[in-house]
Subunit: 288 residues, 2 copies
């Protein structure tokens, strides 16, 4: 698939060390472990799909944006899996980063990937500085301490959690980044794309809650049942499996309805619908 | 002092949450703890001094650069103090971040400060996108996994360490960022400023080794004697106190000689000389 190969190439280019420079070899291994092979690469796929729907007039910019977004996601997985947080042993069907490379390198690889994300956008900015600056602002906002995934993870350390703010920051943020950065890569206004990102994020959160509750570690490639063990708020906990499945369907319909008018609107709606079917397969298969 | 108030104001602005947005309260406390009150703010002071020497035609850009650099430095202290690395109890005369706020929030605060550094530069880029992109590239390079402080810290996890590469990345990187970002803030060529940054970094590394070996925790405000305990390479270990002191003097003379020709060259040389005298006081005082 074309998007898949664009994403993998962009990530490979982003991670390639400059000539005549040496990354400490164990840190280099940890970075590779954290990024390759990937999961579904769903966030950069959404980003490129939105960019294509908006015309994708500068593919080198949208490729950089896709890579940057996925690098932030990989960084968040590396840090969220640490003993101080989820203490997860498995990720993407192999040992989590700190299990494979130790805590110091897992922390440093996460830090390095955050930095690399912004460097990757800045490199694309040599030719399109205005777009790069807006992309960096958008990615920073959805990664940081206020409305970003850092805020999302930090809500878990608070004595009282606002469930909506928590999910919006923890899972929604990078999906909003995906749709908005897709638009920004083409010079389009990002505001009309916020709803689509937010709704896709909500759908993935509910789907993830269902997966965590219904599937085994073997099937998900990561440690299962963590939500219940960690007393983490979840849609399954509050609505039950049937309620959460219905809720998921409603969110996905809303997501498709929210797609802003753009040259590739119909094709994008098809893509979201295809993903929606894939997501809905999870509870159906698990319930038999 | 004018530079000091410029730096504190720029940091306060960078950390101020946007209106109508909520940072998780404990994460907000951790960010404040990590940044205020500061240490000597030496890196942003050097950055602004170089910017002034080059004309400082866009103070809002150099202020943002100074804040961004200090935020990266504060992030690195938060993460380096973690149990997985130095396991330090003290920092800047108070409990280290994870001692005060726990490991999860110390990790997240470090991550958030890295993100905030790049957001701060991008915000300055609304008016000067070309300069912002170059500043982000320069800061990313000196922070990341190849020639940056992440590489520097990661060398400590390698079975064999190249002492020069280690110090250059671990301490030198952010001093090179300081001089080069000072130049870039004014639109000047950063290349001629690399040597000054590198040499100031070397001087601080040697001065830090001397402080660690000679002064008590009370005097330094952080846990002393860690180099020896952690078997970390140090100038004092390899040259002795007298040799390291002589070496420090040579480096500082070289730094002053390396200052590129620029409008404020003489004043900058005076400033470096004043700092050099302050640095040289440490071994003198400690030896009685």
């Amino acid at each position: 698939m074309q998007l898949e190969s664009r994403i993998e190439s962009a990530l490979t280019r982003a991670l390639a060390p400059p000539t005549n420079a040496v990354t400490p070899p164990l840190l280099r291994s940890a970075l590779t472990h954290a990024v390759f092979p990937g999961g579904a690469r769903i966030r950069p796929t959404i980003l490129l799909s939105v960019a294509l729907a908006c015309g994708d007039d500068r593919p080198e910019v949208s490729d950089a944006a896709a890579a940057a977004l996925e690098l932030i996601h990989c960084a968040s997985l590396a840090h969220d899996d640490l003993p101080a947080f989820d203490n997860a042993d498995l990720r993407r069907g192999k040992p989590s980063l700190h299990r494979a490379h130790g805590e110091p390198l897992a922390i440093l690889a996460g830090d390095s990937l955050i930095v690399l994300a912004f460097e990757t956008l800045a490199a694309a900015g040599e030719l399109a500085p205005d777009r790069a600056v807006k992309l960096i602002t958008a990615l920073g906002r959805r990664t940081g301490a206020v409305q970003g995934i850092c805020a999302g993870q930090a809500w878990e350390s608070e004595p009282a959690v606002d469930l909506q703010a928590y999910h919006l920051a923890k899972t929604g943020a990078l999906f909003i980044a995906a749709t908005q950065m897709g638009a920004l890569s083409t010079g389009a206004d990002p505001d009309p794309w916020e709803d689509l990102g937010r709704l896709i994020g909500e759908a993935f959160q509910v789907a993830d809650d269902l997966k965590d509750a219904l599937l085994s570690s073997e099937a998900t490639g990561k440690t299962s049942g963590r939500d219940a063990v960690l007393h983490r708020p979840s849609a399954v906990q509050s609505m039950g499996v049937v309620g959460a499945t219905k809720h998921l369907q409603d969110i996905l319909s809303g997501a498709i309805a929210s797609i802003p008018s753009c040259p590739g609107e119909a094709k994008l709606a098809q893509m979201v619908q295809a993903h929606a079917r894939r997501i809905m397969d999870i509870p159906a298969a698990a319930r038999g």
